[in-house]
């Protein structure tokens, strides 16, 4: 659509991430997903008369952790506020949130798109409690309410209206999801609702500085849907304007069945939330010690590790990026390279056979049964020429997975996998094969160099797989020349 050259989009994203604490933000109910309805509730969660909140320390630490990772300023003095409104899934008739004093301010998230590397500016990150769930399709006449989710700790991460395309939004949410998982702050599961995204979208003529009327789009429960919804919305808005209409400020929902959005609140009902400081919760005056302890306990971030792997370990951009997709992978890799300096080999193993295995078996890499040290030993065997990569990955690795109690060298020996690299021995096999196939040898000498593979295969058979293919090839080439 040529209209896109005329207009630019301005997008801001609000992401709600459920914090991975055991208990809720203000009460001791469990936060575990998938429980029977209304079994993770207490008088506090249900807003019973006389109940009071008490803040979960872990939630505060996780909020600070993500703020530090996003280069935010951590607000030393911050407090909770009540956001007053009525809805059945909001037990107290107010949500305890943060209004004028978010715990984190500013900051940015780095994204890499086809156009390059960019920092998406954040406005704030604040803590708040989640609401319960209203289910409309169980009972014809009534809405069913489940308060298991009510009170779960959330952080709300708000960007500046700093994104300019659906593609950027896609990358931002991808990166943010990776980061919160990386930090152990949130499991990032959009289908289960532990990570939710709302988009604020507006369009304006290119070069215009005033912002266009913005529309809020909700119910974006996958990264793909974030992109699709924004794409649709930008197109829709441009069409409206091009046809002479004006954009109504409204809230819209995304329909995943046809990738469109539809209005759910026609007129922006200015909801007066009557925010005021939560009197039941004393303020925070975070100490430097408290924040530094969290800083010290932070894991190395993907960016840092990427730089280390690429620049210091000399891995390719691709290899380094692959390793840095998930914290479990870098954890594993970092352990392996404690026992070896063959970074390239380690990277090949982990991005290759190990990754393949964990994907097939749907496990996390930290559950991979082969210990980093063992993998390093396997790599050592290859470096020493005792075994080749092909045999190691197809035979030794499965054996190790089946029985991790034995050292790789021991297993390799038991399984007769140790290859022969001794030229003298291999010469015998080479001689055997050459003697066996005079016609093929003749063809080779005449120019059919491709036959080398056949000879290597035959030597392999003759040696029952134990001949080091590199040595075999070298010797064959020697013997067959001239």
């Amino acid at each position: 659509m040529s209209y896109h050259d005329k207009y630019e989009a301005v997008i801001g994203l609000e992401v709600h991430a459920q914090l991975m604490t055991q208990s809720k933000l203000f009460s001791g109910d469990s936060t575990a997903f998938g429980a029977e309805p209304n079994t993770h509730v207490s008088p506090i969660t249900l807003g019973h008369p006389g109940t009071l909140p008490k803040t979960n320390k872990e939630a505060v630490e996780l909020a600070i952790r993500i703020g530090l990772a996003c280069n935010c300023h951590i607000e030393r003095y911050n407090y909770f506020a009540r956001k007053n409104y009525f809805y059945p899934d909001l037990p107290k008739g107010y949500q305890v949130s943060q209004h004028t004093t978010p715990i984190c301010k500013g900051g940015h998230v780095t994204i890499r798109t086809a156009s390059g590397v960019r920092n998406v500016q954040l406005n704030r990150i604040h803590m708040e409690e989640d609401a319960g769930k209203s289910i409309h399709d169980i009972d014809d006449n009534n809405t069913c309410v489940d308060y298991n989710r009510a009170g779960v700790a959330l952080v709300e991460i708000v960007t500046e209206p700093d994104l300019s395309s659906a593609d950027e939004a896609y990358h931002y949410v991808t990166e943010l999801r990776k980061l919160v998982r990386w930090l152990g702050v949130c499991d990032g599961n959009m289908e289960e609702g532990s990570l939710r995204c709302d988009a604020n979208v507006s369009v304006r003529l290119k070069g215009e500085t005033k912002l266009g009327t913005k529309v809020e789009v909700k119910n974006l429960n996958s990264i793909r849907n974030v992109k699709k919804a924004i794409e649709f919305e930008i197109d829709r808005m441009i069409n409206v304007i091009e046809q002479g209409g004006t954009i109504t400020q409204q809230t819209r929902s995304f329909d995943a069945s046809n990738d469109t959005t539809f209005a759910i609140r026609d007129k922006e009902e200015a909801n007066d939330y009557r925010y005021f400081p939560e009197p039941d919760l004393p303020p925070f005056r975070l100490t430097e010690t408290f924040i530094n302890d969290i800083k010290d306990a932070m894991p190395a971030l993907p960016e840092e590790l990427y730089t280390l792997y690429h620049q210091q370990y000399g891995l390719s951009e691709y290899d380094a990026a692959q390793l840095c997709l998930e914290k479990e992978t870098t954890d594993y890799f970092n352990e392996v390279v404690k026992f070896t300096t063959n970074y390239k080999a380690a990277s090949n193993w982990i991005n290759g056979p190990v990754r393949q295995y964990v994907n097939e078996h749907k496990i996390a890499m930290d559950s991979f049964a082969v210990k980093p040290q063992q993998l390093a030993e396997v790599m050592q065997l290859i470096d020493e020429g005792k075994i080749n990569f092909s045999v190691a990955s197809s035979k030794l690795l499965p054996a190790l997975l089946a029985d991790g109690s034995k050292a790789p060298i021991q297993l390799a020996t038991e399984l007769n996998l140790i290859q022969v690299s001794d030229s003298n021995e291999i010469e015998n096999w080479v001689a055997e094969v050459i003697a066996k196939m005079p016609e093929k040898v003749a063809e080779y000498k005449k120019g059919k160099k491709g036959l080398i593979g056949l000879f290597v295969g035959e030597v392999k058979k003759a040696s029952k797989g134990k001949a080091d293919p590199k040595v075999v090839t070298t010797l064959l080439e020697q013997k067959l020349s001239g």
């Binding site: 604490t21 055991q22 208990s23 009460s27 001791g28 109910d29 469990s30 029977e36 309805p37 209304n38 079994t39 993770h40 509730v41 207490s42 008088p43 506090i44 249900l46 008490k54 803040t55 979960n56 320390k57 872990e58 939630a59 505060v60 407090y79 409104y85 009525f86 809805y87 059945p88 209203s134 289910i135 409309h136 169980i138 009972d139 014809d140 006449n141 009534n142 809405t143 069913c144 309410v145 489940d146 308060y147 759910i264 609140r265 007066d272 009557r274 400081p277 009197p279 919760l281 004393p282 303020p283 925070f284 005056r285 975070l286 100490t287 408290f290």
Partner: protein, 99 residues
């Protein structure tokens, strides 16, 4: 300050309260008197005074992340005006999905 019908209506809606016409009339009168009474505060010079946001000196009151204190579903539903032993129920709304 003048208390209008519109103000009363807005406040009633925000508070999810309903008043009959006669109640509204009485309320308007009361409100005007009360507001005149509390408006006296504007006579005090509060330049440069920080508002008191929290009572008491406590700061950084936190609890350990432990699972405890939940009640059974039966207890939770004990006082529910309408339930099916699993969910709390609220009459379904045709007009407005959000209040």
């Amino acid at each position: 300050m003048k208390v209008t019908d519109e103000l009363i209506d807005n406040l009633a809606h925000l508070s999810r309260l309903h008043f009959s016409e006669s109640e509204k009339t009485a309320l308007k009168g009361d409100f005007e008197r009360i507001l005149n009474f509390v408006e006296q505060l504007s006579e005090i010079d509060t330049t440069g005074v920080e508002p008191l946001l929290h009572m008491g000196d406590a700061i950084n009151v936190l609890r350990e992340d432990e699972v405890k204190g939940s009640v059974t579903r039966q207890e939770a539903l004990l006082n529910a005006p309408l339930h099916d032993d699993v969910f709390f129920k609220v009459p379904k709304v045709i007009k407005n999905p959000s209040a």
